[in-house]
């Protein structure tokens, strides 16, 4: 009964979405405010209906109702509750319901909280959002119905892939989808603006919070995925350049460019065309990510079960929305009025450079991801493009950007003084260079560029501090004056400094782990000792253990450093009885200095075990950096100025906007 309710709710939601699309657009055309006013309640209704469907599916999982095919395929009664719930989105059909749920949530949020939006814009935005929802609901209802029944109902389910039974991975999809789908808001706003043929700074002011929220979620979602891959997949790496990882990274790159572009639009009424195009591109990349994962063209741990028919449906959706949006853009973009002028050396100029480098880097990742697919489709040759390609193309494009980042906030709008900015950054540059030289002297092994990579990260962090110092006039004003300014600094300034500093931390972590990682592959018998990175590990042996739904073989290592016992590491191998497959759990000793990482392999002939040991220096900084970026976004989002809707036209802009505003 619950499942049927859920199914019915989905179909109703489809109907509501169609209504939400057609009526407001008609209302805008016929200038009928009542038709246009349908949009908001329709969006809210749609959210409620999809929420009902989602709750129905979740209930089915939690109560282990195996008469529903989706539950039978992906769940089992012995599974812990958390994974029963996360199993809802651990499969294609359920994850699509989550997708449209978040889509409807964003739409309903605009409907409920967007009271400051001009009525027409709001109606158009919700109409576009409704059209996306309608397309995906149609997809779900026709090809991916999660509520199909099985008769007779099986006794128990097939279980969830053991590799997915993990706390971090449970929350990875919701955050990731919030990011992907969140960019649909920017897309809807962009298309609505194109439909209206009008765009102004106020539009950017409304777009920025939604885009920022989506960007924050995507940052965290990607970081969680990377962290999970690191500790679960057993080889201590945090990024594979896997096509599906790239599919999430590309919207992030484009979304970052969009965020900064919207900032320029809001402050200076410039870069309108850039912003609209980036909004369309970012969401298009999100759609492409959806396609890649579900179409079967990829083989990857992230790929959902395939069905070419679904792939074609999503391809059609992509064609309609991306093609339609780009066509609309080509047709209507010339209508958008030319915005403010600025000199090439200025904050706008720096942000244009930022956009350029980010989109080019995104394009490089795009080519590397899609080239194998295209080649296979055209010639049948199977190739793989991996880390070497991306390191060669992505890194050289992103390094100039990272160097430029600290300059941006120190340049004035409209016309900036590059020399003055450089002078202010001397301390930061000096420290970065000093760190690089010191590391070059100490670390004899590893790529010679690595110390400069670390220096780059330090440069970013110090640049962020310099920005704050400059804003509060730390050097020129008295300490009390500086303190007063510090307290009154707009939150957005803290937000951007935090985000850039977070980026720097992540860069340091990435460079350190990639360049200076230690690895050993050993055959150890109980009692053997291994040394790595200052730690001494003594292998105690392997013992069996029983988990809730798995059998485990646990290896025990005592870890000592400088003669003192530190801890025990227990890497293990798990065999899941129901799913008949296993996982490898790494033993990790985490510290800020780096992670000691042990993996248990197979038993060898003479009773020894194959053991792999890693030391990953500073690897925690990668995820700390992502978290700091997320916090920076949150601080920025909490800035009251961002949430005040319409700009006050009555008060004239007082005096000159101070440099660094």
């Amino acid at each position: 009964m619950i499942a049927e309710t859920g199914h019915y709710a989905l179909i109703l939601a489809l109907g509501v979405a169609i209504v939400q699309t057609m009526l407001p657009l008609l209302g805008a055309r016929l200038r009928d405010p009542q038709l246009a006013a349908v949009a908001a309640p329709a969006a809210q209704m749609q959210f409620i209906l999809i929420a009902i469907a989602f709750i129905a599916l979740t209930t089915a999982y939690v109560t282990s109702d195996f008469s529903i095919e989706n539950v039978w395929r992906n769940s089992h009664s012995a599974k812990p509750l958390l994974y029963k719930i996360s199993g809802v989105w651990g499969n294609h059909e359920g994850s699509m319901v989550l997708w449209v749920l978040i889509l409807a949530l964003f739409g309903a949020s605009v409907a409920t909280y967007g009271t400051n939006l001009p009525r027409q814009l709001k109606a158009n935005v919700l109409a576009v959002q409704g059209s996306i929802a309608a397309a995906f609901l149609l997809f779900i209802v026709t090809t991916s119905n999660p509520f199909t029944r099985l008769s007779p109902a099986p006794f128990d389910g097939q279980g969830l892939n053991p590799v997915l039974q993990d706390p971090a991975l449970s929350f990875h999809p919701p955050f990731l989808y919030a990011g992907y789908v969140g960019f649909s808001m920017a897309f809807s706003f962009a298309v609505a603006a194109l439909i209206e043929g009008r765009i102004d700074a106020a539009w950017a002011r409304w777009v920025r919070p939604w885009t920022l929220a989506a960007w924050m979620c995507l940052t965290l979602g990607i970081a969680m995925g990377s962290w999970w891959a690191y500790y679960e997949l057993g080889w201590g790496g945090f990024w594979f350049w896997d096509p599906v990882e790239n599919a999430s990274f590309m919207p992030w790159l484009a979304g970052t460019a969009l965020l900064h572009s919207a900032l320029v639009m809001e402050k200076r009424d410039a870069l309108k065309v850039w912003t609209i195009l980036l909004a369309i591109i970012t969401f298009s990349l999100s759609l492409m990510g959806t396609f890649l994962v579900r179409s079967g063209v990829l083989t990857s741990v992230h790929a959902f079960a395939v069905d070419p028919a679904r792939g074609i449906f999503i391809l059609a959706i992509m064609g309609v929305f991306i093609g339609g949006a780009l066509t609309l853009f080509a047709w209507r973009a010339p209508l958008l009025a030319q915005g403010g002028l600025f000199a090439p050396i200025s904050r706008e100029g720096a942000l244009v450079l930022n956009n350029l480098l980010l989109t080019t880097a995104c394009a490089a990742v795009f080519v590397g991801t899609l080239y194998p697919l295209a080649l296979e489709a055209l010639t049948g040759d199977k190739i793989s493009v991996g880390a070497p390609f991306f390191n060669l193309t992505f890194a050289p494009l992103i390094v100039p950007l990272l160097i430029a980042v600290p300059f941006g906030p120190l340049l004035a709008w409209k016309r900036g003084d590059l020399v003055a900015a450089a002078q202010r950054l001397m301390a930061a540059a000096g420290l970065a260079l000093a760190v690089s030289v010191l590391l070059l002297a100490f670390h004899q092994r590893g790529p010679w560029l690595a110390p400069f990579g670390i220096g780059l990260g330090v440069w970013l962090v110090m640049g962020a501090l310099t920005e704050i110092a400059y804003r509060v006039k730390l050097v020129h004003a008295s300490p009390s004056e500086a303190w007063r300014r510090l307290r009154n600094l707009p939150r957005a300034a803290y937000g951007s400094a935090l985000a850039h500093a977070g980026l720097g931390l992540a860069v340091i972590g990435i460079v350190a782990t990639t360049a200076w990682r230690s690895e050993q592959i050993l055959a150890l018998k109980p009692g053997d000792v291994a040394d790595i990175a200052g730690y001494t590990l003594t292998f105690k042996g392997v013992a069996p253990h029983q988990g809730p739904n798995y059998q485990e073989r646990v290896a025990v290592f005592t870890v000592a450093r400088n003669g003192h016992a530190v801890t025990e590491l227990t890497p293990s191998k798990r065999e899941f009885t129901v799913e008949r497959s296993g996982t490898t759990e790494a033993g990790i000793l985490a510290s800020w200095r780096g992670d000691l990482y042990a993996v248990l392999g197979d038993q060898l002939k003479n009773g020894a075990y194959s053991i792999r040991l890693y030391f990953n220096p500073l690897v925690r900084l990668i995820w700390l950096g992502a978290l700091v970026m997320f916090l920076g976004g949150a601080v920025s989002l909490s800035d009251r100025r961002l949430r005040v809707g319409a700009p006050k036209r009555a008060q004239a802009k007082v005096a000159a906007v101070p440099a660094g505003e």
Binding site: N161, V163, L164, L233, G234, W235, G296, T299, S300, V301, A303, A305, V306, L341, A343, P344, V352, L353, L356, L357, T360, A361, A363, A364, V367, G368, Y371, D381, K382, I383, S384, V385, G386, P388, F389, L392, T393, P396, L397, R517, E519, I521, L522, A523, K573, S581, G582, T583, T584, V599, L600, G601, D602, L604, K605, N606, A608, S610, I611, R612
Partner: protein, 157 residues
């Protein structure tokens, strides 16, 4: 600076950045593409030793030899030709005799494939899709292959 000059600077910068990107991509393409072959294709194509590629097929039953140390020897077959492989490291969980495997590495002059990366991707039938396709093409494939499923890697950097 006039508007025209400004636009010129902007377009110039765009071209420089794009040009650099295209150059990098083309250069990287040449060096870092890795092809995928089955044992029969390896035999037919006479791949030069030292060239990096991916080998896909089934792990021949009874061919897995675990030595004293951490080096494993096994054979990869597509029912027509077989290629011997050595690998030093921890094998992925899903590596099993009679099941599909993809190994990346180089073919050495001694005729043995030295793998530094073994991926055992499996679906319900424990078969990597690329391998299934090759087997199908050779007419030796029995059964339904569905792609999609978890992948685990054993990797030596």
């Amino acid at each position: 600076m006039t508007r025209k000059q400004r636009r010129g600077v902007l377009i110039g910068t765009c071209l420089v950045v794009l040009g650099a990107a295209i150059g990098l991509v083309l250069f990287a393409m040449r060096d870092s593409i890795v092809f995928f072959y089955s044992p029969s294709e390896v035999a037919a194509m006479q791949i030069a030793p030292g060239q990096r590629f991916r080998l896909g097929g089934l792990v021949e039953t009874g061919s897995v030899v675990r030595g004293e140390g951490t080096t494993v020897r096994f054979a990869v077959t597509d029912q027509a030709k077989t290629l011997h492989v050595t690998y030093t490291g921890v094998l992925p969980d899903l590596f099993r005799e009679g099941q599909g495997v993809v190994a990346e590495g180089t073919l050495e002059p001694d005729g043995v494939f030295h793998a530094d990366n073994v991926l055992a991707k499996h679906d319900e039938n424990y078969m990597p899709p690329e391998v299934a396709k090759k087997l199908k093409a050779q007419g030796v494939w029995r059964g339904d292959a569905e792609a999609g499923g978890p992948m685990s890697q054993g990797k030596v950097n």
